[in-house]
């Protein structure tokens, strides 16, 4: 009951901000439309498959879920710095109420957002199949990475810093190293090594593989994303609990 109330409150805080709605829902669609148009203008002999709709749609879905870091971090940071969290800390809410209450609405929003993104992708030529539904679930799972980053940033910094870290830095970092804009498979060397070490490319690959129905190949990519997610969540939980107990970090 308390988790549901808190999750509902957090969803309202995010969705009642029109700027959030634009970035959360509009931006992945703009990305999808723009890159599809670019793809249509490319000569087939260029051989660039990065903007092919089967590759582009998973990238756009993952890119949209990056904003969950911003949303989760902003809500938490504002709650912390405005004393609202102080009020909640004196209530009977438990650590799991807080953790699930901040996480669950972001996962639901990711699912809604990716459902819209894949629907629009169908308009741009993505064949409809049951794999799309599984890809939506996979996007929700990989979004835990960004929610964890958001909760960690929101536990340690104020909302302005969250905007800088999760809004500007993370979106650029994830954009560059995810293979959405840059065809990673055509580039070797240090760039590819870094791309493989970071979780962003693996997030897109996990969604792409599921979308293509090759479920058996997803585990190596999913393991990397889940490993990073677990680390970010663990550090976020420790930071948050230390705040709850009044100790300084």
């Amino acid at each position: 009951m308390r988790v549901f109330l808190f999750a509902s409150r957090n969803a309202k805080e995010v969705l009642r901000d029109p700027v959030n709605l634009f970035f959360g829902l509009g931006f992945p669609l703009v990305l999808l439309a723009l890159l599809s148009l670019i793809n249509a203008s490319l000569a087939p002999e260029a051989g660039n498959l990065a903007f092919w709709i089967r590759n582009l749609a998973p990238g756009a879905a993952m890119f949209g879920s990056i904003f969950m870091a911003l949303f989760a971090g902003m809500v938490l940071a504002k709650d912390r710095t405005s004393s609202f969290l102080t009020r909640l800390f004196t209530s009977p809410m438990t650590p799991s109420d807080f953790l699930l209450g901040y996480t669950a609405p972001m996962v639901v929003m990711t699912m809604a957002q990716s459902a819209i993104t894949f629907s629009v992708a169908c308009f741009f030529g993505l064949p409809f199949s049951v794999h799309i539904i599984m890809a939506i679930f996979m996007t929700a799972i990989t979004s835990l990475l960004f929610i964890g980053i958001g909760l960690l940033t929101g536990s340690l910094t104020n909302d302005k810093a969250v905007g800088g870290i999760c809004g500007a830095l993370l979106t650029n970092l994830a954009g560059v190293f995810s293979g959405i804009f840059i065809p990673v498979d055509l580039i070797d060397g240090v760039f590819k090594t870094i791309t493989n070490m970071l979780p962003f490319y693996h997030s897109v690959e996990a969604i792409r593989i599921i979308l293509n129905g090759s479920y058996g190949e997803v585990l190596p990519h999913l393991a990397v994303v889940m490993g990073y997610s677990a680390v970010f969540f663990l550090i976020a939980i420790v930071a948050f609990q230390r705040k709850m107990s009044g100790d300084r970090i």
Binding site: M1, R2, L5, F6, R9, K12, E13, R16, D17, K78, S82, S83, F84, T86, R87, L88, F89, T90, S91, P92, M93, T94, S245, G246, D247, R248
Partner: protein, 241 residues
Amino acid sequence: MSAIAATGLTKKYKDVTAVDNLDLAVEQGELFALLGVNGAGKTTTIKMLSCLIKPTNGQAVLLGDNIVSAPYAVKSKINISPQETAVAPNLSVTENLAFIAGIYGQDSRQAQKSAGEITAQLGLDAVRKKKAKQLSGGMQRRLSVAMALISNPQILFLDEPTLGLDVLARRELWTLIRALKGKVTIILTTHYMDEVEILSDRVGVMVRGKMAAIGTVAELTEQTGTSKLEDAFVILAGEAA
């Protein structure tokens, strides 16, 4: 049974002792005003008693439950109006109130009913559908206090509750607090001495983390040979410092 029984309560931050070996007993239904200059340890004391921070030493028992070993039992019986306004900005006044009522265990219908009653009591009726961020500072303050009252706490911590309120709103809140006296145990911190004289049963004066004096307003003025609480406070705070 005392509502609050603290013994040797201490909070240290590295080399700074914010609260030093505090002994305090507050009876059920009593309104106890905690006075002190800024940094005297009032807010740290409230934070320990409301389970926000753990004491370095000592213990406190609230209505039979220990703040360290049974914090959730304590939390279900208390509520707090923090020093800063604490509201959810994108939720309406009614939504803010119903949310707090809900997390303290009221079902949806009861929470809506409680929200309706408290908005009427605190003059928030006209703005009940407005988002909290659209309210003036004073109205946000009222809402913040209303959120502390809606759970019907047995112990209520009011940390400078009238800060930022206009004269009329202060008087309305005083009336509400007076109506709670005898039913709810209230710990009040404030810098307004008139508020203390009108509302409190007993007063504690904290200086540098220690309780320098405890008594009724009459006892403190008699002890210091003064006629007003403000003069008594200046002497007590000055002597101990």
